[in-house]
């Protein structure tokens, strides 16, 4: 049994009086792609924000590589090797592509050798190199997604949290995003993916969790969830 890289136990979170997460438990194994699927409002983004330190949980624990990080500041989590690619991409619109990428390496642990990492990101996403001096706010959604991903890689994460990376993208870009995720897994990254695009996400997943109303309703391998009648009916339209 491998030791999980990330384990979440009894996580609860709320926005003011509205509770969003109730007793969420899941693990992410090193080197795997773990997928969270579920409808809008099921709590996927809240989980991601809790993991990144943007939302503070009301109860429960988050462990990353053996350390409890439940109440660690967000910048310390980035420095420890956990990086969020946020929903809506959140690039810095008034900065160039290259400045966005360099900001990705602002964490002390990532500063040394950020030039090599920049070259690595440009190799992985040649489009970003072509546009390195363009203002990020003027790029298409797909390009901004690439930029957000590249910016995340600059932090040299071991665990990448991707929140809805295909939201609002054209089908051809969606395909490319999933290809990139597969490449990243092959390169040794561990990935936690929150996706509405259930079918593709489950096909890719080593392990998957179905969220409903802030709880884990179903857990299993990606293939198991794909075969589950509940998932097929509610999320795949079959």
């Amino acid at each position: 049994m491998t030791v999980p890289m990330l384990s979440v136990s009894s996580l609860r979170a709320a926005y003011g009086p509205v509770q969003v997460l109730f007793e969420v438990n899941f693990d992410v194994l090193p080197g795997s792609v773990t997928t969270l699927i579920g409808a809008n409002g099921a709590g996927k983004t809240t989980i991601m924000k809790s993991l990144a330190g943007l939302v503070s949980p009301t109860a429960g624990e988050i462990r990353f590589e053996g350390e409890y990080i439940t109440h660690t500041a967000s910048h310390d989590r980035v420095n420890a090797g956990l990086c969020l690619i946020p929903e809506g991409r959140l690039v810095f619109p008034g900065m160039t592509v290259e400045q966005n990428l360099r900001l990705g390496a602002i964490a002390p642990a990532a500063r040394a050798g950020h030039s090599e990492m920049l070259a690595e990101v440009f190799r992985r996403f040649p489009r970003l190199e072509q546009r390195r001096n363009q203002q990020a706010g003027l790029m298409s959604g797909g390009e901004q997604q690439m930029l957000a991903l590249g910016r995340g890689l600059m932090a040299r994460p071991r665990l990448i949290l991707m929140d809805e990376p295909t939201l609002g993208l054209a089908p051809v870009m969606v395909k490319q995003v999933f290809e990139t995720i597969e490449e990243l897994r092959a390169a040794g990254f561990t990935i936690l993916l929150a996706e509405q695009n259930a079918k593709v996400a489950l096909e890719l997943a080593d392990r998957a969790y179905l969220l409903e109303n802030g709880r884990v309703a179903l857990a299993g391998s990606g293939a198991e969830l794909l075969d589950s009648p509940e998932v097929r009916r509610a999320y795949l339209g079959m």
Partner: protein, 295 residues
């Protein structure tokens, strides 16, 4: 026409423009990173001015050294305001949402307290002192040493700030927070530290401006408010949170004011300033130097 072309007028415009740019710089930094509307900003200018006055009157310490003292004093005040009031408010999302509107009232309170404390401690008698006030003539332009010093220091601080924002890693983090606070956290910017150091820095710059003002103008407990107004006008003309544009707008306002008065009369000063302000709001409400890039 001769006066309009004279270096004398240009010098006057640059002196006041650089001061406007400096006062606005501090306000813009604090608004940009913390979204706090610091109505008490001008009162920090007043504190800087009194620091310079008391230092030279009591201890014969020249304003050039008071620049550092006033900056330190105001930075300390910034730390107190942040640690005492805003850190907790900004940490709670429910409160943080309202902090921008609430900050206006909070700082109004701070402004009233500062003005009245100053009036209580120093009385409302206007004060002044003489420093470097001999006239130097260069290329037919007559200038006093203190105005030259004011222009030099204000310009140096503004450009220093710009260079810092462009080339220092902390400056990058600061710009990231101004553009997108949440994204800055995502990439690993230490938000708390950026906010604390920015409020200290922003307040310190106001203190520096106060020392510069005190060399040429009367010092009273209520001298700050006009600077608050000018600073708001400048950062709205330049674009809120846009540091470089704010500096440019400060110089522009100085030019418009000085040349406008030369063309009309000093009675038109307010009309010129607010006319420019209203004009900019009508034509380009996002600020004249702001590029319309938002995703």
């Amino acid at each position: 026409m001769d006066t309009l072309m004279s270096g004398q007028l240009l010098f006057a415009a640059l002196v006041s423009g650089s001061l406007y740019a400096l006062v606005a710089l501090g306000l813009n930094l604090v608004y940009g990173t913390l979204r706090l509307l610091n109505i008490a900003h001008g009162d920090l200018v007043m504190i800087g001015a009194y620091t310079a006055f008391w230092m030279i009157s009591l201890f014969a310490i020249p304003p050039i050294i008071s620049l550092v003292l006033a900056a330190a004093l105001c930075a300390l005040l910034g730390w107190a305001v942040y640690a005492g009031l805003f850190r907790r408010m900004l940490a709670k999302p429910e409160l943080a949402k309202r902090v921008e509107a609430n900050s206006l009232i909070l700082f109004y309170g701070i402004s009233v307290i500062l003005q009245n404390l100053a009036a209580l401690a120093f009385t409302s008698t206007s004060r002044g002192y003489q420093y470097l006030d001999t006239v130097i003539t260069w290329q037919g332009i007559s200038m006093t040493g203190n105005r030259l010093l004011s222009l030099g220091v204000a310009t140096a601080v503004c450009f220093g700030a710009l260079l810092f924002l462009r080339f220092h890693l902390f400056g990058w983090g600061l710009r990231a927070v101004i553009q997108r606070r949440e994204a800055a956290q995502v990439v690993g910017v230490n938000l708390n530290r950026v906010q604390l150091l920015t409020i200290c820095g922003g307040f310190a710059v106001a203190g520096v401006a106060g020392v510069l003002v005190s060399m040429t103008e009367q010092i009273t407990p209520f001298m700050g408010f006009p600077f608050t107004i000018v600073a708001f006008v400048v950062i709205i003309i330049g674009g809120l949170g846009n540091i470089g544009a704010g500096i440019l707008a400060g110089f522009c306002l100085g030019l418009v004011e000085t040349y406008g008065i030369a063309l009309t009369s000093p009675g038109y000063r307010s009309i010129l300033i607010y006319g420019l302000f209203v004009g900019v709001l009508l034509v380009r409400p996002e600020g004249i130097f702001t590029k319309a890039v938002r995703s």
